[in-house]
Amino acid sequence: MNLVFYFLQQLVNALSIGSLYALMAVGLAMVFSILRLINFAHGDLIMVAAYIAAFALLGKLPLVVTIVLMLAGTILLGLLMERVAYRPIRGAPDVAALLTSFAVGQILQNGTLLVTRLLQRPNPLAFPVISALSGVFTFGSITIPRVNVLSLVLGIILLVLLSLFVTRTDLGLSMRAAAEDLPAARLMGIDTNRVIATAFAIGSGLAAVAGLLFAVQAGQLTPYMGFTPVLKAFIAAVIGGFGSISGAIIGGYALGGLEVLLTAIPGIGDILPPGLVAPGVQAWLRQWLPSSLTSYRDAFVFIVLILVLLFRPNGILGSREREEMG
């Protein structure tokens, strides 16, 4: 019985962390699919969103106002980034765009540091407790943090809305067309600047949501906190098949599942109820899969990434799309 609860708990964890990765990865994938730009400053948008939310809450603004400010601020910043930094170098070699994204990231990090000093706030900054998002849900003997459940539900709702947008609306269809063949999309009468701005706006909005959920879970903010999420989102997008939105979503959940699996399996020997498996097996599990292996989780994640790149360089969805092309 315990084991069933344990499994359910880990499943919720996997889906909630997967939702965060997917929310971040689709922003990267949308921009990459159209511009061939790996926007590493995407992680810094997540950071800025968290800081906007923190400053708003510390200024005693209500939660709803905080969320609106955070979304609006992050989306505007994403649009500004595209207009000021990326549009002028469109058509330049990919390396130039990549370096620009690092520069944009640096500017956002240092800007945040500056604002933190001006507002005389400490660095790192403790994220204010949001009572609506803190606490746990208890089902029988399992407890799940509320923010995890929220991540899962919100993630799925937003990703479904995004899927409807790209398949059902003309603007979404134009975005897919621009991703496949930008010159041909221009010949269709698609205003590519508008489509690219839309991709940045949607990606930034989703990054803001992920940033808030991420901040609530982490509890503490630094201007450099965007690096790990953007790296994870990048891995998720590569695993799924870089440049496709559905690939980014699948990759996000695959990475979430993988990480939780790599956290849950070590130490499993300590949790299994006595008598479920032979004592020899249990002793073997304790010896070879001790809970201390958990700290190597990211190393295992990168091993999986390398294997994916070796055997399925186009990602989980990549090769299937090639077949569809005939």
Binding site: L173, S174, R176, E180, A184, R186, L187, M188, E321, E324
Partner: protein, 234 residues
């Protein structure tokens, strides 16, 4: 309707168009013929705004085209069906057609126009839910022309519609081109197959290395000894 005057275009240091002038009148079918690299596709790309001229003027119904982005040129009523078709292979046939009409204001008429394309090319209706990348070469060319017609152009730029097609399909495509002309569309046709192009065109321009070297009524050019020798192989 369309008037190019001394248009020059360069790719970096390479001058692809060295000052070409041509005109297309309302209702005409005009063809550009010439060898590979003569600048035929470059001319079409400059008209549709994908390339910017270095010098010269492009006028469409007395409006200058050379500073407009491609989507505004489409909105003026010029549609460019590019060489190599450039379909959206991972989108369905219907989605490709819908994209041809994205910039139109009269959204409610789009489904009727999709039906019109299906009437023109019934095989596309059978394949409407299929991904465009899975179509045969002939079907892809039909879809490319159908997609270009979805913006309801008054001027259609067609680049090498017969390229890589079996003779029977070439015949079908050329019949369709003539039908579009009868329906009132003005057409500027770039073709390697000079014989066929001169057969259906009203007037023709012969291009060589970025210049117009000959021009005139198609029936006249067909019997021009130089054209016969170089492009018709007689």
């Amino acid at each position: 309707m369309l008037e190019l005057h001394e248009v020059e275009v360069a790719y970096g240091n390479i001058r692809a168009l060295k000052g070409i002038s041509l005109s297309v009148a309302e209702g005409e079918l005009v063809t550009l013929i010439g060898a590979n690299g003569a600048g035929k596709s470059t001319t079409l790309k400059t008209i549709s705004g994908l390339l910017r001229p270095k010098a010269g003027t492009l006028l469409y119904q007395d409006q200058a085209l050379d500073r407009l982005p491609p989507h505004q040129i489409v909105a003026l009523g010029i549609s460019h069906c590019p060489e190599g078709r450039h379909l959206f292979g991972r989108l369905t046939v219907t989605e490709n057609l819908r994209l041809g009409a994205v910039q139109r204001r009269d959204r409610e008429k789009v489904p009727d126009d999709i039906e019109h394309v299906y009437k023109l090319f019934p095989v596309l209706k059978d394949r409407r839910a299929q991904l465009a990348g899975t179509l045969s070469g002939g079907e892809q060319q039909m879809l490319a022309i159908g997609r270009a017609m979805m913006s309801r152009p008054r001027l259609l730029l067609l680049d090498e519609p017969s390229l890589g097609l079996a003779p029977i399909l070439v015949g079908l495509i050329f019949e369709t081109i003539q039908q579009l002309k009868r329906e009132g569309t003005t057409i500027l046709l770039v073709e390697q197959n000079a014989r066929l192009a001169l057969e259906i065109a009203d007037r023709a321009y012969v291009m060589e290395t970025g210049r117009v070297t000959l021009q005139g009524p198609a029936t006249e050019l067909k019997h021009n000894p130089q054209v016969e020798h170089t492009y018709l192989g007689t």
